[in-house]
């Protein structure tokens, strides 16, 4: 049950296997980019990727051929526009076909919450009047309230084989502290069969305030210390979101060639996240 601290390379090698269902969560904030890049470096295949907002990290993983399926609720480059690699996969099956399991944010939240709660499904008053149920009949159904007779939408729980989070700090016992916007990280963590975490710093004491968002160490299978591990997303109290990077990505990802060249140079061509950060000029 006790958390093992190890290099990120070993965390991914040990816990993320081909064919698994993997959720890298973090809503705009604390997106585990370093872990995603390591999954790309280790050439994982046939993953079912789960994230509310695929963001750049899944654009990269999909473009590099790691994914056979995607569960999501909003697949754009936040504040910028399209995720071109995600679009290319759906529109032209490049580099190969990508099955999609599409929901709304409210629906994804309910699915993670059901998974976190050990229930097979969750309920919401949503999707009414939309084409979502017809587009995804296997995963959007209905239940009737036994007390009022109201018909509500039912969605299956998500229980990732592995959830990966990035956080500000962990202590040597493996207790993890997240501060700021957490999105559905708590639910994705509790829904997972295995939880692994990258952190900005491993410290003697996380000094969590009362009622803070702390994940107890005994729930965390492995931790890697990866400073800057959320870049170009951000870690509140450590560094800001690199909005310029998000804007620049639109051009990089627009063509297959520039995308592949960029990934080859900055991700496959670097040994680890510190190498990546230096390569893209994101270090002091």
């Amino acid at each position: 049950m006790s958390t093992q601290v190890m290099p990120l390379r070993d965390v991914i090698a040990r816990h993320v296997q081909d064919g698994m269902t993997v959720a890298l969560e973090g809503f705009t904030h604390l997106i585990p980019f370093a872990a995603g890049h390591e999954i790309i470096r280790q050439r994982r295949r046939d993953l079912t990727l789960v994230r509310m907002t695929p963001d750049l990290i899944y654009d990269q993983m999909i473009g590099m051929g790691c994914a056979k399926a995607l569960t999501f609720s909003w697949g754009g480059n936040p504040g910028v526009g399209s995720l071109h690699r995600l679009r290319d996969a759906i529109e032209h099956a490049w580099p190969h076909a990508l099955a999609i399991d599409e929901h709304s944010h409210a629906g994804m939240a309910v699915r993670y919450s059901a998974g976190a709660s050990g229930l097979p499904f969750g309920v919401l008053r949503g999707y009414t009047g939309t084409d979502l149920p017809a587009a995804n009949p296997a995963r959007i159904s209905q239940v009737t309230c036994p007390f009022t007779g109201e018909v509500l939408t039912a969605l299956p729980a998500i229980t990732p084989d592995v959830t990966v989070l990035h956080a500000q700090a962990a202590d040597r016992e493996g207790n993890v502290l997240l501060r700021g916007i957490v999105g559905a990280s708590r639910e994705a963590a509790m829904a997972a069969r295995t939880l692994v975490v990258t952190v900005e710093r491993i410290v003697d004491s996380i000094d969590a305030p009362m009622n803070a968002f702390v994940i107890p160490g005994w729930q965390v299978a492995a931790i890697a210390e990866v400073p800057g591990g959320a870049y170009p997303s951000y870690a509140l109290g450590h560094y800001a979101r690199d909005n310029a990077f998000y804007l620049a990505w639109d051009e990089i990802a627009r063509s297959r060639d520039t995308f592949l060249a960029w990934m080859e140079r900055h991700v496959l061509g670097t040994a680890d996240h510190a190498g990546f950060l230096r390569s893209v000029g994101a270090t002091e």
């Binding site: 504040g79 919401l124 949503g126 700021g180 639910e187 400073p227 270090t283």
Partner: protein
């Protein structure tokens, strides 16, 4: 239209004027975020802004690029898990106003932000639902904000992402509102200098015009000043370089 302000500025200001002080707004990124914060900085100081990332009662000094920028957390009254935003706030009926945009809108205010073309084989894959389906059905009142063109104001949606019934569609030319009996969106107001024919030409269905067609007052000097200041602060903030300090430049 006067050269003193852009159609985008007019659209943002028209949207902001719709917000009553004290209202609880579910804010989307981009123009809605600008409109809400403009309202908060002008006539509606007690507007409560909720962003779906989990920030409640946010008072950002600059506009976020993403829905979860650090600025939103640091200026929030409360930062909560995202699922609670959709359950405890939106679904529980605590949101007064929701804003939506889309790639396509039809004459009843239904919206498409999912695909152009067939769902299984899209010509253009759009980002998808996000919070829209539940904002559309669960906020007490919904405003749609979209630039108008015959390509986006369509007779038939390729996909229904959110079932409509907005109380207004605020465009870069004027404002559409639902007719009481038919619920069809009809033109009820124009910006200064915009002609009805211009609006009709930028609509893919035969747009009907209300009997009493109003004209919306142009931006006040104060509205323009506050909005431009907000955008200028935002541009400066987003241009800041982000650099990570690696401990001893060591290998992680």
């Amino acid at each position: 239209m006067s050269a003193d302000y852009t159609p985008d500025e007019m659209m943002t200001i028209a949207a902001s004027r719709r917000l009553k002080n004290g209202a609880v707004c579910f804010v989307g990124i981009g123009l809605p975020s600008a409109a809400c914060n403009l309202a908060r900085l002008t006539h509606a100081p007690d507007l409560v802004l909720i962003y779906e990332s989990g920030t409640v009662g946010t008072r950002p000094n600059v506009l976020p690029l993403s829905i979860g920028d650090g600025e939103l957390a640091e200026t929030a009254r409360s930062v909560i898990p995202l699922p609670e935003i959709f359950t405890h706030y939106l679904q529980r009926g605590r949101v007064d106003v929701g804003f939506l945009g889309a790639a396509q809108v039809d004459r009843f205010g239904n919206l498409n932000s999912t695909v152009i073309g067939e769902y299984a084989h899209p010509a253009v894959r759009l980002p998808g639902s996000g919070g829209a389906p539940e904002i559309a059905s669960q906020a007490r009142e919904v405003f749609v904000v979209m630039k108008q063109s015959a390509r986006t104001f369509v007779p038939k949606l390729d996909f229904t992402t959110s079932a409509g019934r907005p109380s207004a569609i605020i465009t870069d030319l004027g404002v559409l509102e639902p007719e009481v009996t038919t619920r069809e969106m009809v033109l009820v107001a124009l910006y200064e200098g915009v002609a009805v024919e211009q609006v009709r030409a930028a609509c893919g269905w035969p747009l009907r015009v209300a009997a009493a067609l109003a004209t919306i007052a142009p931006p006040t000097a104060d509205e323009l000043l506050v909005l431009r200041d907000l955008h200028a602060r935002t541009t400066r903030a987003h241009a800041a370089r982000v650099r990570i300090t690696l401990p001893n430049q060591g290998v992680t």
